[in-house]
């Protein structure tokens, strides 16, 4: 039988190249180098306003004191161009590459890590990455490698969602697979359990990222993606948006408060991302972020 799927008669790749957008990987290095420094020094206005609002409305005296320090620290870090925290984080990048982009000038992954290396050296940021997790745990010395999640999408843009993730909060995160019968009640119980176990260690007021569905690894990725979502945003599906609000209320009823010193602001936001899953499962991952929320989006 003749194969029906054929590319015969279509223009050769080299002829298509003129429609492709060419991008030097050095552009990526520069974007990463600038972003990691900016994320560690500066606070975007909406984030600062959010923290000021919490400071001014927190009823707990100790919680308010913690917020006072948190806001003042942001201002000083930005003025002096020093890192806001000594844990300047591990670099995590969700990289979306438009399928019409052609990179030149070297290896893309090497370019990303060059940006990390330069940014952490120039900014006097702490190098917090070890080469392997168990035996020697020797420091790589330049905060590389970054954790990179690559996705090919339509178009000719390159979108980088970059985070400098502190591990006080990362350490308190986890993933597990519930059964469908656990349902909404089960999801709520897991989120609450995670936050209560984390307590002061996740440096509240925290952001709670929840990944639902997919598989074990997809749930974890979704939880991380939720943390990278724009501050103040809700899931476009209203059912999940309502659940986000309910979970936030529930988390803030724990009384943990800023830094765990007591109060009504344990989390600033709960964000949920979801994906289709198997009839037999309800995977859930909960990824916590500290009050620093060091993430940004760069579109090239």
């Amino acid at each position: 039988m003749e194969v029906t799927c054929s590319n015969k008669g279509k223009p050769h790749f080299s002829k298509l190249c003129k429609f492709m957008r060419k991008m030097n990987v050095a552009t990526i290095s520069d974007a990463v180098c600038n972003a990691v420094q900016s994320l560690n020094f500066h606070t975007p206005a909406p984030t600062l306003n959010q923290l000021i609002k919490v400071r001014d409305t927190e009823p707990s005296p100790a919680g308010r004191q913690a917020m006072l320090e948190i806001v003042e620290n942001r201002v000083i870090a930005s003025q002096r161009k020093v890192p806001m925290c000594q844990d300047s984080g591990m670099v995590i990048i969700f990289l979306q590459v438009g399928q019409d982009v052609h990179f030149f000038g070297g290896d893309l992954n090497a370019a990303i890590n060059l940006g990390v290396q330069q940014g952490y050296a120039e900014g006097f940021l702490r190098k917090s990455v070890v080469a392997e997790p168990l035996f020697e745990r020797s420091n790589t010395g330049d905060n590389t490698p970054a954790v990179v999640h690559l996705e090919i999408v339509a178009g000719d843009k390159v979108r980088l969602n970059i985070a400098c993730k502190g591990f006080g909060a990362e350490n308190m995160s986890w993933v597990r697979v519930l059964t469908p019968a656990d349902g909404i009640k089960g999801v709520k119980a897991e989120v609450l359990r995670c936050v209560l176990e984390a307590g002061p260690n996740a440096c509240p007021p925290m952001i709670v990222g929840v990944g639902l569905g997919g598989t074990l690894e997809i749930a974890a990725l979704l939880a991380k993606k939720a943390l990278m979502r724009k501050g103040g945003s809700h899931n476009p599906d209203t059912r999940y948006a309502v659940l986000e609000s309910e979970l936030l209320h529930q988390v803030n009823c724990t009384g943990i408060g800023p830094q765990g010193w007591g109060g009504i602001n344990t989390a600033l936001e709960v964000r949920i991302e979801f994906y289709p899953t198997h009839i037999a499962a309800l995977p859930i991952a909960i990824n916590l972020d500290c009050h620093l929320q060091r993430h940004t989006e760069v579109v090239l």
């Binding site: 320090e69 000594q86 007591g262």
Partner: protein, 183 residues
């Protein structure tokens, strides 16, 4: 607001209650995981410690690199719970204060009452602000430990919150209970 300057006397410590805001000036010492291990080993072996902890304060910190022209890099608190096992013997030797972030073990809380000592809190992640109040830095012991060596800090008006007092008070426990609501 309390103004404190080490060495701390039991009388002063007895006046402090959880949630109190304290302004600390004077000399404090740094130690985290590795330095605590060495202090404990020395004490167990009957050797004298490289610093006299009587009346003093230890800050749990490992500063980030010092940029040119600066006294110190960002120097925020690390999680105190990791040195809990080493703390009671130091309190027995007369250590009066500790600075860190996060909860302490029941054993440490009992030892604070027993030896009339206090645990202060700094905000995790407020490293830039904290470093502004550190005016002088010198390494006093275990040079080879790098950022984990024991440093002497001269601090000025460093703002702290009392997390555990010598009366059994615990800010985490009582703070959370006070603001807990039924869902």
């Amino acid at each position: 607001m309390f103004q404190l300057r080490p060495p701390l006397s039991p009388e002063i410590i007895a006046t402090l209650r959880i949630g109190d805001v304290v302004l600390l000036s004077g000399t404090i010492y740094t130690a985290r995981d590795a330095a605590h291990q060495r202090l404990a080993d020395a004490a167990r072996a009957g050797h004298s410690l490289p610093l006299n902890v009587a009346g003093q304060i230890i800050y749990y910190v490992g500063p980030a690199p010092t940029p040119p022209g600066k006294i110190i890099g960002p120097a925020g608190p690390t999680t105190s719970g990791r040195v809990d096992v080493f703390t009671p013997p130091l309190l027995q030797l007369g250590l009066k204060g500790m600075i860190g972030k996060g909860k302490r073990s029941p054993l440490v809380r009992r030892a604070l009452q027993q030896h009339c000592a206090v645990y202060f809190l700094l905000v995790g992640g407020a490293a830039a602000l904290i470093s502004e109040h550190i005016k002088e830095v010198a390494v006093v012991a275990y040079h080879d430990l790098g950022t984990e060596a024991i440093h002497r800090f001269e601090v000025e008006q460093l703002r702290l919150v009392v997390g555990n007092d010598c009366h059994g008070g615990d800010l985490f426990e009582q703070g959370q209970a006070a603001f807990q609501q039924a869902v």
